[in-house]
Symmetry: C3
Subunit: 305 residues, 3 copies
């Protein structure tokens, strides 16, 4: 069960996920104790063709908590003409000389796979194109459900927001489909509904789902409400009431007492700040889990070398 590169969530088997989550739990405990690991000889290169400060910080902090080093670029494409015009494969061949793992964010779908094909060190996909994947986000999302709901089999999840171009939702859907008796509710304005490729995948894997235009009626039945942003500018009819998708005190009243509210953050108006103090609001813990999951993933990559 060797893990060479981390390109897409589909590649994770249930046993590998369980190993990852066991290590994640250990990392969480170690950080709480103020401990560090000794990967001091390891160097991570964060190669971001598109800036994402929070994702980059999370990877870099994970590497530091393991005792390692980081070489970092925040917007490779914007400023370095050599990086912009360069054949991606050549860049990876060269930079893989300088480090032990490459964390790549790119604007083009498939870039991470191309990089992995020529890299002499593991490549981790930190997002490739808006229709691509962001597997470590999906892993931390899955871990959050596992930690908070104590289960993955039998989970009912409502995805609410712009679902058509969300890497987050796509990657998490693939991962959750590996578990038994999960049910998905995809709740979005029609023009932002989840893509046919995902539905096709779910059909093939006999995963139950429903497509809905509004959350009314279903919100009280789910274990997880996963909210993503909606960009109003993308709507054809500008007078659609997006407020029906928002999470606020009224929605909290309808939700199960042990359900959880997730969000990949940053949030805008879609979650009312009054929700923050409700114990079911787990989005800040979810973000925090990113550190532990990324630490655990790095140890798996380093330990098997």
């Amino acid at each position: 069960m060797k893990l060479n590169h981390v390109i897409e969530s589909q590649q994770f088997t249930v046993p590998l996920l369980m190993e990852l989550f066991e290590r994640t739990r250990q990392m969480e405990k170690m950080v709480a104790r103020g401990g560090t690991k000794d990967y001091s000889s390891k160097i991570m290169a964060t190669l971001f063709y598109k800036s994402s400060t929070r994702t980059r910080f999370s990877f870099e902090a994970a590497m530091f908590r393991l005792g390692g080093r980081v070489i970092s670029t925040e917007h490779a494409a914007d400023f370095s003409s050599e990086m912009r015009d360069e054949i991606l494969e050549d860049t990876i061949r060269i930079i893989s000389n300088d480090c032990d793992v490459i964390v790549l964010r790119h604007t083009e779908e498939g870039a991470a796979r191309r990089a992995a094909a020529v890299s002499s060190v593991p490549v981790i996909n930190a997002g490739d194109g808006s229709g691509g994947q962001h597997p470590t986000q999906a892993l931390l999302d899955l871990y959050t459900i596992y930690r908070e709901c104590k289960a993955l089999n039998g989970i009912a999840v409502a995805f609410v927001g712009a679902l058509d171009n969300g890497r987050t939702v796509r990657s998490l859907t693939y991962l959750l489909s590996k578990f038994d008796r999960v049910k998905f509710y995809f709740i979005a304005p029609p023009e932002m509904q989840i893509g046919d490729d995902i539905l096709h995948y779910l059909d093939n894997h006999r995963v139950q789902y429903e497509l809905l235009q509004q959350p009314e009626g279903i919100i009280s039945a789910v274990d997880v409400v996963y909210r993503t942003r909606i960009d109003r500018d993308r709507l054809a009819k500008k007078d659609v009431d997006l407020g029906i998708y928002n999470i606020n005190a009224a929605v909290l009243q309808k939700m199960k007492s042990n359900a959880i509210i997730m969000h990949p953050l940053p949030r805008s108006v879609e979650i009312d700040p009054v929700v923050d103090t409700d114990p079911r609001a787990v989005y800040f813990r979810q973000a925090r889990n990113g550190l532990f999951v990324r630490m655990a993933l790095l140890t798996i990559l380093f330990d098997q070398e």
Copy 2:
């Protein structure tokens, strides 16, 4: 005397300043010996919404000399759409998961205080808005006077330059007012004179001051000449002779033999390079003190956790 966050210079009491300066002196000696401290498990996040390479380098070098790690962003606002649109409080909640101290430079006055209110780790204000504060600059300025003049009580200081929008002058004025028998001369073109809020503060604390339009006559009486830049574009009358504010060989002749010349740097034409070699020109030592003061401040924050 717990120090949770470093937001503004007013929060420093005289005993805390003396503890800081004692530690600063120790750091200076330790660096001279080539020694380092062992804060290797600590991570600093430098979160700069506005780039300031020198300030960032000084904080990061301070962290490294203490044995720690740094995650760094140079212009959070310009490049990361998620950072730009994000609620500052959410960003801080998330990033404080990844680190042990946040160094924040922001464009909005009050941003550091807002960040501190939600952060799970100490926040250090590295400048918030042009009318805001930059307390570590004030601390290193104060330390420089203390080191060079061997005293803070009874000190006479001439502030010369654009004083209305200078964070540096504002923050240092607050700090110096905590000592006895200090006297300030604010010397600037009328449209760039120090703000009424500062004068009100000085009146309330019974600190002596004079407002002047030119340094003639007073320069021979002061212990410290603190020069800041004047942006000619901000003057209503473009034909004002700014040369009268410059420090040059003639000014050196008039100054006391044990007075000092300070500048927050970078300087432009306002200090003639011939001044650099005069023993009273302390601005490069002043910049160097930034490293030691920041190291000392970090140890205070870390040691009390």
Copy 3:
């Protein structure tokens, strides 16, 4: 044979080059073993006024493999108004307080020399202006020839591409001229031929060279083909066939069996990807050597302090 700063390739004597290459070989072996050096108290500042991610990564990885720390800026000039307007000498005076070595890339020729004149720590020139130098590139190029060809005396080198504004070719030419019986072929469109200052230098040092417009006939006689990019936009006549300068399967057939193909990378169309798998294509090994040469150079600077 003290090395204070690394400004231009001319300053390296043959004995110093041999010491550097001996250390480079040791670094290569140490990295292969997964070892690190203990320069943990040393801080490098990478001060790039013009972004060059690959060069910066190579320097930073070299520092990390030695156990050191790095403070880093990717585009000092673009974003930091204080850096942009600041007198370079003042910036260096201040930043040299924060670190043990400065790696400087600047847009102006001569900037590295100016920086070295005021720095309290060693300055390494990582490129100053398009007509300036990039000595560590030249050192890694020279080391690559030494490693691959087992000799430097008697070497015949064809430089092919835009030779007029190439720092790389200029710096390497100076270095190779220190060895006996080398011969250069400068092969380029007339408007991009190597500069008269270089030819004058070669004449003075009695180094043999030929100027050619196309590689036909000579390619089978050389030990090294050093290809650089040609920017078509710079050609007066847009219909010139640049294909004659490209390295492809046909060129490989004509080359000596023990000759090597070098390129400073990134490459564009000028080297066909089919060449990559030929054992004579050393450009990826050449890039890798940059790590080891920079590690070795840093140890020389640090060890003599």
